[in-house]
Amino acid sequence: MSGRVVVVGEVVDGRPTRLSTEVATLGRRLGEALGRPVVGVLVGAGAGEAGASLAAYLPEVLTVELPDLADLAPAPRVAAETAALVEPEDGPILVGASPDGRDVAGALSVLLDRPVLANAVAVEAGPEGPTAVKTIFGGKLVVRSRFVGPPGIVTVRPSSVDAAPADAPGRVVARTATAVALGPPVRRLERILETAGEVPLEEAAVVVVGGRGVGGAEGFALLEELAALLGGTVGATRAAVDAGWIGYARQIGQTGKVVKPRLYLGLGVSGAIQHKVGMQTAETIVAVNRDPDAPLAEYADLYVVGDLFEVGRALVAELRRRRDAGTT
């Protein structure tokens, strides 16, 4: 039997994350293209329950239930259990590039002695084996890389593929925990949830983003209103976060999140390179800015030169009118 493509999923609240279902979809298609079997691995508290959901995307999912993981930082244990399920001939091993996924991938690379190709937006079946596609320098270049020798680990960026279930659901195989994490355990003392239930920025289909031009925390109320009307969530530039108008969790860009929404609507955002790296792969980019020469004017699909508050309020009114008239 040739080696398997391995999809390492992530469990949150007894469900696979959306990113996990995206990576599973990518892994299934890659397996078909390479002519190799595909297997999913889910480790953690609630893995058994989550396995059935992930099996909608994959022919087979191995689950390792770890109820005590709730009291620990998960990555070392997840990596150790995953490593125990990977055979030497298996690969590539696909991991979602979430914060936990990056930690798992880094640990796996050492435990399995495998190289890493990071931050892929696609994985192709190249003539010399699996080829990871990524962008560098803030999207200026698209680089295709392969493994020299046996395939290793590929981390996959959120929203790189649309999750699509397989024709028929796969089977779930429960495995017993066997591995021990290296090093002293990192204990979790407490979990503080401030905005539980909010759509993660990386997963939002519509992101309404405020920059320096928003002028203050109160200015973001308009953005919240627009986001609600568009079925999206609010993001911000570093300038707005540094000014304390909105939390760091909402920051898009170089030292914040990378998003790939269907719609990016920027208000008072100049679109400098540090921000651009986090949003330029948005499908549609619309911007409102007083400055006709801001960088965003060069790569937006639609660029409105104007006052963000005047245009923003008019847009709220227009969207409400269309919603109420049912003409959209």
Partner: protein, 263 residues
């Protein structure tokens, strides 16, 4: 507290000049090098820890021989010394080789904490902290928004950013912490700091100085290879609108409706 801050000189993303050379490696002559943005947050966190707990900060970088100039900024901010691992044989090393080299360099240093940025602006991989912690058998506290060491008790607490909030994590020292912008804005070097940095030590280490590394290094040993480099697919042309707010709003709504982006 003895703190090592991992620092990577990267092409300045703001320069617009970052590019790859014909060998598919970063063309380091094309763009000025700066300290990686997230590493500056790590250094700032280290400086604050040393201000409240005492101790010393060592910058550790694996970089070309020109890196001391870049590291000088970190020394001007207040780091006490720097260790630069540089060797022509390291050029073209992949992520895993880099981890092996950093681990070998750390083995020669004494520390209670290793701080690293969560990722770098050039590669954006974000897997080095976890790989390094695993290789060294150190506890990993990642995505830190706050770091509270208790050196007397030999442990550290970290507020780790998760979706929708924080986890409070605790581990024994020594430990490795990956750092985010939420730790606080890096300070600007003072004139005094800049002057002092000139006489601070940048210890240069070759591969031979380090001794054996976990994986072979350099481009020839890399377990990953670039196959192709292309420009990104072009975005469509920009449509610019200058109109009254009401007309502009109608245009936006029409545009979104045409693209089926209205709920």
């Amino acid at each position: 507290m003895r703190i090592v801050v991992l620092t990577k000189p990267v092409p300045d993303p703001a320069s617009g000049q970052d590019r790859l050379g014909p060998d598919h490696r970063v063309d380091r002559a094309a763009a000025p090098a700066v300290l990686n943005g997230n590493d500056e947050y790590a250094l700032e966190a280290a400086l604050r820890l040393v201000e409240s707990h005492g101790g010393e900060i060592t910058l550790l970088a694996m970089a070309p021989a020109t890196a001391p100039e870049t590291l000088r900024k970190g020394l001007a901010m207040g780091a006490h010394r720097a260790v630069l691992v540089t060797d022509p044989a390291l050029a073209g090393s992949d992520i895993r080789s880099t981890v092996g080299v950093l681990a070998a360099a750390l083995a020669g240093l004494e520390f209670d904490l290793v701080l690293a940025g969560i990722d770098t602006s050039d590669g954006f991989a974000g897997v080095v902290p976890a790989a390094l912690a695993t290789l060294l058998g150190l506890p990993l506290l990642s995505n830190a928004a706050a770091i509270e060491p208790d050196p007397a008790a030999g442990r550290v607490r970290v507020r780790r950013i998760i979706q929708g909030g924080y986890d409070v994590l605790e581990a024994p020292l020594p430990a490795l912490v990956s750092c985010t912008q939420a730790l606080g804005a890096p300070r600007y070097p003072s004139l005094k700091g800049i002057m002092a940095a000139r006489s601070k030590e940048v210890a240069v280490r070759s591969l031979a100085d380090l001794g054996p590394t976990r994986w072979p290094v350099g481009g020839a040993a890399a377990a990953t290879a670039v196959v192709a480099v292309d420009p990104p697919p072009a975005r469509g042309a920009t449509r610019t609108i200058r109109a009254s707010a009401v007309e502009a709003a109608r245009e936006i709504a029409d545009f979104l409706a045409a693209r089926r982006l209205l709920p």
